[in-house]
Structure formats: structure tokens, C-alpha cells
């Protein structure tokens, strides 16, 4: 059933071709903007905080085209719309867990975005600006596992904020709070190593940083292999805790749900 939901969302996404072209254009523009910003601020400097410009270009290309592109605001909006219209009661009558169905649909949509938008943007930008290889074979292997944790983390955070809509009844505001937190703490735009020391340490320990910062820091070899592996385990632990929290929240939500539509 999970696969059926994911495939259905994938097919729905593929039906809107004009939207795909717009997303390809927007994705390219986003990467170009980030590269322009890093090129402008680096100027002629060889390294800043132990990071080179080619490393930052790699961070910008992979980060913008793939890791930061997994946006779950749509999920929060969908939950909000279901609550507002009362359609959520229909979802509860069906023989599946509502959060799992939301998760599957998002996976389908986002896999489509990654394959049809992220991958071409990544390849074209890599050909134009150059892309650094992973720091070592081991860092490359770890990066693949980090990507899975990253996808799980952004989906889990989206689901958590979506389910909170049942309690505060205002998905729109929750979506904006989530956007603000993710944009700073995930390190999608600015890596945490440029942040003020105290703030960077706190942000690096929060689950948001496994969305983009830790995967890219591993890819670029900013941490040695044992530290990267330890951080991957820490990310997996955060992920387990996050989904445990979602399961608990969902069990509480179904007990207190009052449907106002109808």
C-alpha cells in the first residue's frame, strides 16, 4: 500500500509538465545564486575556516539540487487542508495509518522531483562549475547512508509539524515556523561552520543539521571517518526518536480529534 501511494504521487507529479520546466529553471537559478554568493564573498581567498571555494561550490550544488530540495511544506499544508475541510475523518475510516499515507505520498512526489529536477540540475551545474568527488571512498559510502537519514529527517520533521496542526488548528503558521527553523538550522544555505561558535555547536547537535550540514560535511571530508560514522549513528538515533514521537503523537491525536467540518 505504501508503494501504491508513492507511485500514485509520482505519476500525479509527472502529469504537470509545465511545472517540471518551471522547477528545472528555478532549481538552476537557485544553484546559480548560491554559487554567485560564495564566489563574491570568497573573492580571492584560498580558504576560509578551512573551507575552499570549490568545496563551497560542491556544497551549494549538491545541497541546493538534492538535499535542501526535499521540501515538506506541502505535507503540512495537506494536513491543514484535511483538518479544515473535515476530510481527515474520511482518512481515518480507511484501512491505513494516515501519517504513513502522507509519508508515502511525499516520498513519491519528492523522488520524482529528485530524479526529474534535482538530477539534471546537479549534472548540468557539475559540468559547468565542476564538482568535487567525496573526500575518500569511505566518506562516499557514509554519504549514501547520510542521504537516507537526511530524507527520513526532513520527512519526519514535516510529519511532526503536520500532526501538530491537529492540536493548534493552524497549519499555515506551523509551516512558516518550520520553514524558519529548517532554513537556519539545517545548514542548507549557510554551512554551520560559518556560524558563531556557540550557536554552531548547539545547531550541529539538533536533528535539523542532519538534513544538509552533516551529510555535506562528511562528503567534503570535514570530519574524519570515525567521527563521521559516530555522527551517522547519532543521526539514526535522532531519527528513531523522531518517529517514536510521531507514533506517540498520532496515538494521542486520534483520541482528542474533533471534526468541525461536515
Amino acid at each position: 500500500m505504501f508503494l501504491a501511494f508513492a507511485l500514485s504521487a509520482f505519476r500525479v507529479r509527472s502529469a504537470y509538465r509545465a511545472q517540471v520546466w518551471a522547477m528545472l529553471f528555478g532549481g538552476s537559478l537557485d544553484v546559480l545564486a548560491r554559487i554567485s554568493i560564495w564566489t563574491a564573498v570568497f573573492g580571492g581567498a584560498a580558504t576560509v575556516d578551512g573551507v575552499t571555494l570549490p568545496q563551497m561550490v560542491t556544497y551549494a550544488v549538491i545541497g541546493a539540487a538534492f538535499l535542501s530540495a526535499w521540501d515538506t511544506t506541502e505535507l503540512v499544508r495537506e494536513v491543514g487542508a484535511d483538518i479544515r475541510s473535515g476530510d481527515v475523518i474520511g482518512q481515518l475510516l480507511k484501512p491505513y495509518a494516515y501519517p504513513l499515507a502522507l509519508f508515502a505520498k511525499q516520498i513519491g512526489s519528492r523522488v520524482f522531483d529528485s530524479l526529474v529536477v534535482g538530477l539534471p540540475v546537479l549534472v548540468v551545474m557539475a559540468l559547468i562549475f565542476g564538482l568535487q568527488a567525496p573526500a575518500s571512498f569511505g566518506h562516499g559510502v557514509l554519504f549514501v547512508f547520510y542521504c537516507l537519514v537526511s530524507i527520513g529527517m526532513i520527512m519526519g520533521i514535516g510529519l511532526l509539524f503536520g500532526l501538530l496542526s491537529f492540536w493548534v488548528l493552524d497549519a499555515h503558521s506551523l509551516e512558516w515556523f518550520m520553514r524558519g527553523m529548517v532554513s537556519v538550522l539545517a545548514g542548507g544555505f549557510v554551512p554551520l561552520w560559518f556560524f558563531p561558535a556557540g550557536f554552531a555547536e548547539v545547531a550541529a547537535a539538533l536533528p535539523f543539521s542532519w538534513i544538509t550540514f552533516h551529510p555535506m560535511a562528511t562528503y567534503l571530508g570535514q570530519e574524519d571517518l570515525p567521527t563521521s560514522a559516530m555522527l551517522l549513528v547519532a543521526g539514526a538515533a535522532w531519527l528513531t526518536g523522531l518517529f517514536g514521537l510521531i507514533a506517540w503523537l498520532w496515538s494521542r491525536t486520534t483520541l482528542r480529534l474533533t471534526v468541525q467540518g461536515g
Binding site: A22, I37, A40, V41, H172, W176, R179, G180, F189
Partner: protein, 266 residues
């Protein structure tokens, strides 16, 4: 004319009163949206303070530009964005046809009856950034420069409303227009940064076809006396003219598309 104006004021009043029924929700929405923007601005602050500049601009200058960008956008979008974002739905469901038989201009009715006061957070954030940054900048304040600042802000708001109107009107002939807003916001995000950091072709696009360079960069550079690519000394005047010119083009384009509108509902 006076009757139409009083009708529009009445419609706006109705909308505002409706939204004020849920004051706590409105306040939380303001706070949430301001937090969303503050998250992005925090990233820009980190870059500018860590590297000391961005394209030759320091943090107070960038903060003024960000304030100008969000305030100009909020003033224009509160009259247009949410209302015209759904234009393709209005066309598809035939709802727009009902507006055509009302004794009021459909654009005026849509925009004024749907005035969105949820932009309060944007406006407060913009005012905060502008009022924090202006005292730190060496601007030679005269009556003319104050008028220039205010008129540039109105121009930026008109530019926002004009571009959103053009995109919304596209639904009359294309049937779909929502994806065009995605492209608009891609360029709109670039308009937060000094234009000189981008490649020349992108600078030209941002000053001509999609003139979002006039949202914040050109007016603020003009006020601070900074050089502006391709415009030079003409920048302050260009910033004042951009909004009204775009509004005239948008009005023409709206009528052009409306004449070709055949309806899609049934």
C-alpha cells in the same frame, strides 16, 4: 467614481473585520511568517558578518535592502497575491465569469475585497530592519532624499502588484498560471542580494524582462550613492519610474488577456 471608491473601502472593511474575528490566529500568523523570513535573513547575516561584505555591501546596507524588499513586497502583495494566485481556479471553475457580470471592475473587486492583512509580520520586520539600519548609514538626509525613499517604496509595491497581476492575467489565455508564480519567486529571492554579484546576463534580465532589481537593490543603491550596473546616475530616477511603468503595462496586459478570455468553466 466616488461611489466605486466607497464600495472598495467598504469591501476592504468587510474583509479586515472578518480576519480580525480570529485575532490570536492572526497574531500567530504574523509571528510565524516573520520567523520564516528571519530564518533566511539570519543566514544572510552570518555570511555578511563572517566575510565582512557581500558584493561590497556591509550588513547595515544589506539590512536596509532586505527591509526595503520585504516591505515593498508586503505592500504590493497584500492587494494582489493571494487574490490572483487562485486565478486559474477561478477560471477553471467558472467563478470568474460571475465577476464579469457585476457592476464593478473585476480586478478592483478581486484585489480590494480580498485584501490580505496577514502581511503584518512582513511589514513589522521590514520597518524594523529599515529603522535599525538607516541611522547607521551615512545618508545625506534632505527633504528630497526622504521623498525619494518613500516614493521608491511605493514604486516597489506597484512593481509587485503589477507583476502578480500580469501572472494572474495569464490564466485567461493559458488556463494555468500558478506555476509562473514559482518562477516569479525564484527571481524575487535573487532580488534580496546586491545585483552586482550575479553574472551580467542575469543582471540585465533583473533590470528588464523581470525587473525585480528595482524592488530593493536599485532604490537602495541610489539612496546610498552606490554605483548601479547599466543604470549609473539614472538609478534613483529609474527606481521611481519602474513601479508606475510596470503598473501601466500590467493594466494593458490585463485588458489584453481579458479580451481573449473565453471561459473554461461549465
Amino acid at each position: 467614481m466616488a461611489q466605486s471608491l466607497s464600495l472598495l473601502v467598504y469591501l476592504m472593511g468587510l474583509r479586515v473585520r472578518t480576519r480580525l474575528e480570529y485575532r490570536a490566529g492572526l497574531f500567530i500568523a504574523w509571528l510565524a511568517q516573520a520567523c520564516g523570513y528571519a530564518g533566511v535573513y539570519a543566514g544572510i547575516w552570518v555570511i555578511v558578518t563572517r566575510f565582512e561584505h557581500l558584493g561590497g555591501w556591509d550588513w547595515p546596507e544589506i539590512a536596509l535592502m532586505l527591509g526595503f524588499h520585504v516591505l515593498g513586497y508586503a505592500l504590493g502583495a497584500s492587494f494582489t497575491f493571494v487574490q490572483l494566485r487562485n486565478m486559474e481556479e477561478l477560471v477553471r471553475l467558472g467563478t470568474f465569469d460571475a465577476l464579469l457580470v457585476r457592476p464593478v471592475n473585476p480586478w478592483l473587486y478581486l484585489c480590494f475585497s480580498g485584501i490580505n492583512i496577514e502581511y503584518g509580520g512582513h511589514i513589522l520586520l521590514g520597518l524594523l530592519l529599515i529603522s535599525w539600519s538607516l541611522p547607521q548609514l551615512a545618508v545625506d538626509w534632505t527633504l528630497l532624499s526622504v521623498l525619494q525613499l518613500l516614493a521608491s517604496l511605493v514604486s516597489a509595491a506597484l512593481l509587485t502588484g503589477a507583476i502578480i497581476t500580469i501572472i494572474g492575467a495569464s490564466a485567461f489565455v493559458l488556463g494555468r498560471s500558478r506555476y509562473l508564480f514559482g518562477i516569479y519567486f525564484d527571481f524575487w529571492e535573487l532580488a534580496r542580494y546586491p545585483l552586482n554579484i550575479f553574472a551580467a546576463p542575469l543582471q540585465i534580465v533583473m533590470l528588464t524582462i523581470i525587473p525585480l532589481g528595482f524592488m530593493a537593490y536599485v532604490p537602495v543603491a541610489g539612496l546610498l550613492g552606490r554605483p548601479v550596473p547599466f543604470l549609473g546616475d539614472f538609478a534613483p530616477v529609474a527606481a521611481l519610474l519602474a513601479g508606475p511603468t510596470a503598473a501601466l503595462i500590467a493594466a494593458w496586459f490585463w485588458r489584453f488577456c481579458l479580451r481573449r478570455y473565453q471561459g473554461a468553466g461549465g
